[in-house]
Symmetry: C2
Subunit: 244 residues, 2 copies
Amino acid sequence: MLIEPMEAAYSPLYAQIKAILVDRIASGQWKPGELIPNEFLLASEFNVSQGTVRKALIALEAEKLIDRQQGRGTYVARHTSETSLFHFFRMVGLDDRRVTPSSRVISQKLCVASKEIAQALDVELGTRLHCITRVRDMRELPAIFERIYVPQALMPSLEIRPGATMVDEMYVIYQEHFGVTIAHASERLGAVSATREQARLLSIEDGAPLLEITRIGRNVTKKPVEFRVSRCRTDVFRYATEIT
Amino acid sequence: MLIEPMEAAYSPLYAQIKAILVDRIASGQWKPGELIPNEFLLASEFNVSQGTVRKALIALEAEKLIDRQQGRGTYVARHTSETSLFHFFRMVGLDDRRVTPSSRVISQKLCVASKEIAQALDVELGTRLHCITRVRDMRELPAIFERIYVPQALMPSLEIRPGATMVDEMYVIYQEHFGVTIAHASERLGAVSATREQARLLSIEDGAPLLEITRIGRNVTKKPVEFRVSRCRTDVFRYATEIT
DNA sequence: GAGTGGTCTAGACCACGGT
DNA sequence: CCGTGGTCTAGACCACTCG
């Protein structure tokens, strides 16, 4: 019996607890990598039983917002190059084995949101955005041509050295430098023909078919934060997904 | 304390219960659509508490093997055109709205498993397969060219009338006629150029880029049952996936 | 051994779908 | 009204990590 507002739509206790915990993570009160109080402490704080807190925590773990480790404790999820790639990067070789990309930044510019991007990011038309163009190599091959758009307001000092080879994932940078955690993403896939520029950068024939992935990245509160378009060679790589 | 074999790897009670229930579904002892015993009955059958059974049932529901309905009971999941499409068919319009395909069968033949297909279906090279070729229309447009391979041994009398417009999903047919339930699938996506035949059937230009989806469909025990290659127009449709 | 999350139990009560 | 699944509690014990 946490809250009992008149006329309230019914919501189970564990869902209310969960919402409170999400808020603590979203607001930065609990930061990525931080150890949060154990189940009994949370239970006594909210005056509920440990089992109820547990149910909220299990739900948060399923959403990958926290990381529970038996014997150690519960931590706020943190992006690492590893986990970020494993979670958000779906390309595999024809042998079905995961590949690790590295990236070369072609350019970083400021631009304004087009109609499509403004709608995707839920911002005003003309909002100022960072626009990063890069090529990602996989197994020594140039494989992905990528444009990334993020609102300048969210990450004022975002600065990627053009030409530098990047090991770190963008999502690690967002989180560690700007406190922005990408927790969910929507992807739309289609097939397109390579433009002349893309063909040159990817060492393929002009007009060759490319897999185009359009992604909207969202933070823990599901607000859109990043828009990205990736054009991938699929002569030696595939996009992998499981339906369960 | 269900089983306690010497040297056994530790496995929680609810996982053992779950395995038993999966087996009852896989073996056909409980058939799709059937009402299964309630939580207390199962609990007393296995001599565990209701909460333990519940945990197994919740896991099965997450895997979409059963359908739990408050106030009514728990049913073995059944494919319907609706649920099958909603679960396995990922194409959406550019407006992000779901589309419902209909299909025209071009041909049905018998063939033998190539190396690639034999490996995918985990059968011997040369195993006899049904091979169905069809075109799927979406919003009055020919949109997908598709080849489906299933072992003849699994579905001896599979017979689709060429030319007939199909409303029913293949997966509904597999389940209702042959007791084969597709419960999981792996998909690999890439971009390819349309062959002349495909271009003609899809009313697009020769060599136009198509999204190629290679799917391995698996039954409830995760054994591969169907191999399918779909080539999709993505000028007005997209493949949609969420990363959560 | 102390502390954490994971499992399991037993029982109470609630919300929902039918009769 | 009954029977179902859904929530919540309180407490016991198990498995893992670390000092």
